[in-house]
């Protein structure tokens, strides 16, 4: 919070600095200086906002903050902020950006871990169901094979049974013929 307040104060200072500087130069500019000072104050405020935005974007991209090129007509020692204030502002913005980036990275990492855990659980469940289905299919095939084999063997047994019956009938016929023939 203290950083925010200080940053806000810095922003207002950055916006109001040139206005005050323009106001201080008002007597020097002579008649019509009021209009010039007012325009310079608004322009300075806008330029301050633009510079601040550019610095935030540069820090968010991870690029070094380029020194702001001052216009020749408005570059004066009274308008440019002191170097220690600029570096302090950059440090504050850099710290805030890093904190935001770290929070976003942690959130994304947590979400990715959660999604990965869900996908792993779902894949494990699918794999288990496939294994169960394969075991069930294997059991059904084995039972069908045994059933088919038993059926074939039963047919072979019936065929053999009738063959033995015909052989016994043939043996009895031969015995009867031999008995009756004498």
């Amino acid at each position: 919070m203290s950083n925010g307040r200080r940053e806000h104060g810095e922003r207002s200072e950055a916006g109001g600095g040139p206005a005050r500087a323009g106001g201080a130069r008002r007597p020097v500019s002579g008649p019509g200086g009021a209009a010039t000072g007012s325009a310079g104050g608004v322009r300075g405020f806008l330029r301050g906002v633009r510079d601040l935005t550019r610095e935030v974007v540069a820090i968010a991209r991870g690029q070094p903050v380029e020194p702001i090129e001052e216009d020749d007509e408005q570059a004066s020692p009274a308008q440019s902020p002191p170097p220690e204030k600029a570096s302090w502002k950059v440090n504050v913005l850099h710290a805030a950006t890093e904190r935001l980036r770290g929070a976003a990275d942690e959130y994304i990492a947590a979400k990715l871990d959660e999604i990965e855990a869900r996908v792993d659980a779902k894949l494990g469940e699918i794999e288990q169901r496939i294994d169960e289905k394969m075991l069930d299919l294997h059991r059904q095939l084995r039972e069908a094979r045994d059933r088919e084999l038993r059926h074939r063997l039963r047919l072979l047994k019936i065929t053999l049974l009738f063959t033995v019956l015909v052989a016994v009938l043939s043996l009895g016929y031969k015995l009867a013929i031999k008995y009756w023939a004498g």
């Binding site: 084995r142 094979r145 047994k157 049974l161 052989a167 043939s170 043996l171 016929y173 031969k174």
Partner: protein, 87 residues
């Protein structure tokens, strides 16, 4: 017509007919199985492996009763055939 035995004719004809039918059916079935399993294709190789696995994992216990009955009938048929030679 001396020496013609109708039952012996029926028995010999039945044996020839059924023997020929069984032989042809067996050869046809074996040929079909060979045609089904032969070939360099991937799925036929897998099928050969699967049939080999099924043959190797076949269990005697579920069909043990049927096999014992068949063995007894074959032995009985041999005994009856031997008795035919004695009469």
């Amino acid at each position: 017509m001396d020496g013609f035995d109708l039952f012996a004719f029926y028995r010999t004809t039945l044996f020839l007919f059924l023997g020929t039918y069984t032989l042809l059916l067996t050869i046809s079935s074996v040929w079909q199985v060979v045609r089904l399993l032969a070939g360099p294709e991937r799925h036929k190789e897998f099928l050969r492996t699967y049939v080999s696995y099924q043959l190797l994992t076949m269990r005697i216990r579920p069909v043990r009763g049927e096999l014992l009955q068949i063995a007894a009938l074959v032995a009985l048929l041999g005994v009856v055939g031997y008795l035919h030679t004695l009469v």
